[in-house]
Structures are given as C-alpha cells and as structure tokens.
Amino acid sequence: MRGRVLRRPRRKRRFKMVSKQLTVTNSQGFHMRPATVFVNAVSKYKSNITIKFNGNDVNAKSLMNLIAACIKFGSNIEVVAEGEDEEAALAEAVQLIEAGLGEE
C-alpha cells in the first residue's frame, strides 16, 4: 500500500482556501478586454484570488499582472480563493472563465 505522508498539523487557518482547475476557452484568453471583465468582477470580493499558471501565482485582481501572465486560449489554470467570501469569489471567477469572459 502506498503510505500516506503524515503531515505535521498546520497552524489553523481561518479560511480553508478553495480552488478549481479549468481550461481557458475564450479565443483571446486573458487579453485586454476579457481580463478587464474578469478583474472588474472579482475585485469586489475581499478574498485573495490567485491564478496559478505555468508555475506562477498571478494576482487575479491585478489587470497588469494578468496581462503579463499571457494566459491564452487552451491554457490550463487553477483559480484559488482565500478569505471570508472565498466560495462566492471562486464560483463567480470560474463561472466567468467558463462563460468565455464576456467575449463575443
């Protein structure tokens, strides 16, 4: 049997941190317009929201960092939210990305 690595109990977090992996499906990826739509929508949440992509943690409320990350159509990303409204933040972020970030 593959043994499970026992972890030292961590310091208790206040929030459990939620995340979801998904693929970007809008043709422009996180370029100017779609990224703006995204940032404007998630900025209202208090949680920290991060997009993990290509080994980097990108601040999802920073338009400039999102553009620099160059997340394209077909990119596999993980959205992570941590904070008091993390569930709602993650749900909206995921829903937006899945719906194509307002792209026409």
Partner: protein, 570 residues
C-alpha cells in the same frame, strides 16, 4: 520608393508632418519624510487627471471613430487603476522616491514584462503602457500633450509609433495618410487607421529621418508603398488611383444591408468563411448574410488534450448567437497527417492529402467525433446551424455520419436537452469522387457546399504549393468547370441548397458561370462580401448562361481564362 506594411487601404497624397514624441525629462529627487504625504497626494491627483482626460478622450472617440476602438483608450484607465501597481508606486514614494521616478520605474517594469512575452498581443500592450507612462509623466511635470487636432488639411502624419492617445485627437478630414516606423497589421496604429479610414503604411524603417516636415509624399495603403518626392507623373497616377478607390468604396457601400440579387431579381446569398468565434463578429460587421464555412480546427490545435464537449458547445453557440438566426454552416474537424496534434493518433503518411484525414479520421475516432457532433447539436438550439462533412468520397460515409447524428438526437431527447430537430447535414464537395456521384449523394444530403481549393487540387492532381505544377492549379480548366457544373446541377435537381466556400465564390470571372449552373450561396472572406454581392447584381441569368455556354465550349484553360477576363463585371 520605400516599402512598409500596408494596413489601411487607400491612397494618401499630402504634406509630411513629422510628429516627435518629445522626451520627457525630469530630475530624480529624494522626498524628505515630512513631504511624503503631499508627494503621494501629487501622484494620486495626477492619476485622477489622467483618468478624467482619458475618459473625455474615449467619449470623443466613441463619436468620431467607434465604440470598440474607444475601448482601447478606456483600457488605459483600467490599467492605471490596477491596485497592485498603484501599491507598488506608493511603496516607493513612501521610501522617499519622487512620484515621477516611482511611476517610471514601475511602468517600465511592466513594459519589460509585456515585451518579453512571446505573444504579439501582449507585446502590443507594452505600447499602451509606454503611452500611459508618457502621459502620466507629462501630467506630473505639467507638460502639455501633443496636439494633433490642429494639423492642417492634407497632412500625412509621419511618426515612430502612433499611440492610442495620439489617434484620438486626429481630425480625419485633415489627415490624408499615416506612416510609422513601428507596428504590424494588428497593432493599434493599424486598427485605428482602418477605423478612421485613413490610408496607412507601417514599419517603414527610418522614415522619420528620411522625410522632413513639408516634404510632399504619396502612400499606397494597399501595396505598402511610400513615394517620397513624387514626380508630376506619380502625382497624376496616384490621384487617379485615389479617386478610383474612393469611388469604388462608395459604390460598394451602397450594397450594405441590401439583399443579394441577380440583375433579373433572383435571390442569392453571400456568406462568410470564418475560423474563430471572433471572426463571426467581423462577418456580421461586413454584412455577411450567414456563415458558409466555420472551420473548427482552431478548437483542436495548440493544446494537449481534445477540447471537451462544453468547450466546443460554447464556441458554436457563440457563433450561432452572433449570427442571430442566420445560417451557420459548421464544418466538422478537417484534419489529417499533415498537422501535428499530439493527442490524436496520427501516423506519418507519405501522402497526407490522400490519407487518413477529415471524415475518414473522424469515423475512425468515433468518441472524438461524437463529442463534436453532440456539441454542434446542442448549439443548434441557439441559432440556425447546419453540419458540413468534409472530404466525402462515398454515400456510405454520409450514412455513417447521419447515423451518429440520429443516435445523438435520441440521447438528447432522453436527457431533455434542446436541439434543432431539423438540423441539416450536408457534404462538402471537394473530391472528384463526390463530384462524379453527386447525383446519388444529393439524395442523402440536405445540402452541398463546394470547396474549390481542394476540388481543383484533387481534380487536376496538382499541389498548389508546388511551384512546378502551380500552373495546373486554376479553376478555369475545363475539367474543373465541368465538375462544378455537374455538382451544382445534380444538387439543384434534388432540390437541395448548393453553396461554394472556396476562393472561387468571389472570383468575378467565375461568378457568371456559377449563377448559370444554379449556385445558391457564395461564401467568401468577410472583406469580399460587398464586392461579391455587387458582381452578382450585374448579371441576369440569361446573360450568365450565354457566358457559361461559351466558356464551356472552349477546350483550353488559356482560352477560357482569356474569354472570362473579357466579361468581368464588378
């Protein structure tokens, strides 16, 4: 004559005005502790002024250019309002750096980041950030911005790079052309000059040094030519070209929003060929009456695993909705051994174009095909979608595809998922085999769409990429014309709709023949919609039939081509 990248069609004749972006210089200062609050205040009010001015610019632009381009400028507000970036600048000011240096450092960092990415669109954003930086520094330093609004009529703007903030001030009636040292077909300069309908040639090396203020110059926005110090003869030649261009454009614009009709009132349709959901927007803008070919390969390329049903469904639905009830013909995956797709099991083939590709591959990888067909069927609830099967050579292939479609329908019914129960399934006719059996194929298809590019290649056995045999790759060979006639007539005999989605559909030499044979819809690149509609409107069926009879009687392609050149109507 100098050469550049042509990005906005038209001829511009005028007087050079070099626009230099004055270097913004300032002295770095250390801010003493007790002034940090006021320095932060100075920075924040500069950002406020920036946003306010930009908002006004965007509003003006919405009026003078169009809402879409105004969005680029609005994007600058979004960029500068990035809380992360503002925080970085504030941190530096709090450590005693002056606002100018702090802003320059941080913005430069993003310019570097954007430029380093191997992606054209991201690199272009570096131009935006650099524009933002210059404007913000000017506001901090109290330097007036460049005023392009006061340029006199007949000006040709010559500059290193046209920034979005510069273009908002341009009065298009005064500017006859734009020449830059930087930028490509998708740059801001290009998009904006096209939106403003100003002829533009970009990426002309050293042009700001070669030309001087007051020089006379001509630019050709179609060919990418820049003629400095033109002779009288040049001026006359290009003046004529300019007037002709404007006349033709004005004339073609009269076809916007009109039905496509032959001169004697037979109704036809001009559709568009597209490759992504974004192209669908262009197709609608260019007045396409539907989508005659939606290539789905983009969904399958550049990725590690096949797209999910949901990915595909969203893309198809988006196009269907963009077209708002007008026909969208989706071509199922048309791919084979000549393209490398890691997750598809393809082996190297000696003859990929005669190999395991298109419908052959799809019928061999049924899971992949079912996923695509199910996504298409689901999307059919949101518009008028037809399914087109590529590279059909026999009736059995159509039966197999239709069988799969029927089984998916049954499943969708069970699951209670909506779809268009009468969805049309048709064949792309692009092989000699399909052409030869088009009479029996027509009985098992809801429509035909002729792909001329492959049909010519397969009929003439000539690879158009091979220069030695390229002379054989022409639609004017009697073999190709006979094939076209057979396909269209057999389709019409069975009462199904017959379209064409290859280059041939917009060829003014072929259009009368296609009309004579009975073609229903002509699917072209979005920019050719109006010229195709115009050409169709010039023919009565009787005249077209006369031309077709004559063309079909000629034995060599030279004679056919020569004859058809003489009958062109635009």
């Amino acid at each position: 004559m100098l050469k550049g990248i042509p990005v906005s069609d038209g001829i511009g004749i005028g007087t050079v005005r070099i626009i230099k972006n004055k270097e913004v210089k300032f002295d770095d200062r250390v801010i003493p502790e007790n002034e940090i609050e006021s320095e932060l205040g100075r920075f924040h009010s500069a950002v406020d002024v920036f946003c306010e001015r930009t908002k006004i610019m965007a509003e003006e632009m919405e009026q003078s250019v169009n809402p879409k381009e105004a969005e680029i400028i609005k994007g600058h507000i979004q960029m500068i309002s990035d809380p992360f970036m503002i925080g970085q600048i504030e941190d530096q000011i709090k450590n005693g750096t002056c606002a100018e240096t702090a802003a320059e450092n941080t913005l430069n960092q993003f310019i570097e980041m954007f430029s380093a990415v191997d992606d054209e669109l991201t690199q272009q954003r570096a131009t935006d950030v650099s524009d933002i930086k210059k404007r913000l520094l000017r506001i901090l330093l109290g330097i007036e911005e460049i005023d392009l609004g006061s340029l006199p009529p007949g000006t040709i703007i010559v500059t290193k790079d046209l920034t979005p903030s510069m273009t908002t001030e341009i009065k298009k009636e005064n500017i006859n052309g734009i020449i830059t040292e930087k930028g490509g077909i998708t740059s801001h300069s290009a998009i904006l000059s096209r939106a403003l309908e100003i002829p533009a040639v970009l990426s002309v090396p050293e042009i700001t040094k070669i030309l001087k203020d007051g020089d006379s110059v001509i630019i050709d926005g179609k060919e990418g030519d820049v003629i400095s110090e033109p002779t009288e003869a040049d001026k006359q030649k290009y003046e004529k070209a300019r007037v002709d261009f404007l006349k033709e454009k004005e004339y073609l614009n009269t076809f916007i929003g009109k039905d496509t009709m032959t001169e004697d009132g037979y109704h036809k349709e001009v559709f568009c060929n597209i490759g992504t959901p974004k192209d669908a927007v262009t197709a609608v803008q260019k007045d396409g009456e539907g989508i005659g070919l939606f290539r789905t390969e983009f969904l399958f390329m550049d990725r590690k695993a096949a797209p999910t049903e949901e990915d595909q469904f969203n893309a198809y639905k988006k196009v269907a909705e963009t077209l708002g009830g007008r026909t969208v013909i989706i071509r199922t995956l048309d791919i084979g051994g000549d393209k490398d797709i890691p997750y598809m099991e393809q082996s190297r083939e000696d003859n990929p174009f005669l190999g395991y590709r298109a419908v052959r591959y799809c019928l061999g990888d049924k899971e992949l095909y079912k996923t695509q067909l199910r996504a298409i069927l689901r999307a059919s609830a949101f518009g008028k979608i037809w399914v087109m099967v590529p590279m059909v050579t026999n009736v059995y292939e159509m039966r197999q595809v239709r069988g799969i479609v029927e089984r998916i329908k049954t499943k969708l019914d069970k699951e209670g998922i909506p779809y268009d129960k009468n969805i049309k399934v048709g064949a792309m006719i692009e092989t000699p085999a399909a052409s030869l059996i088009s009479d029996i194929l027509a009985k098992e298809c809801d429509f035909f769409s002729i792909g001329t590019n492959d049909l010519i290649q397969y009929t003439m056995c000539a690879d158009r990429g091979n220069a030695d045999v390229a002379y054989l790759y022409k639609p004017y060979y009697p073999a190709v014309l006979r094939s076209l006639k057979t396909i269209i007539e057999n389709g019409k005999k069975e009462g199904i709709s017959v379209g064409m989605c290859g280059e041939g559909a917009r060829d003014p030499m072929l259009i009368p023949l296609l009309l004579a044979f009975g073609l229903d819809d002509f699917s072209v690149t979005p920019t050719s919609v109006l010229s195709t509609r115009s050409c169709i409107s010039k023919w009565t069926l009787e005249e077209a039939r006369e031309v077709a009879n004559k063309a079909m009687s000629l034995p060599t392609y030279m004679e056919v081509e020569e004859y058809l050149k003489g009958i062109i109507r635009k």
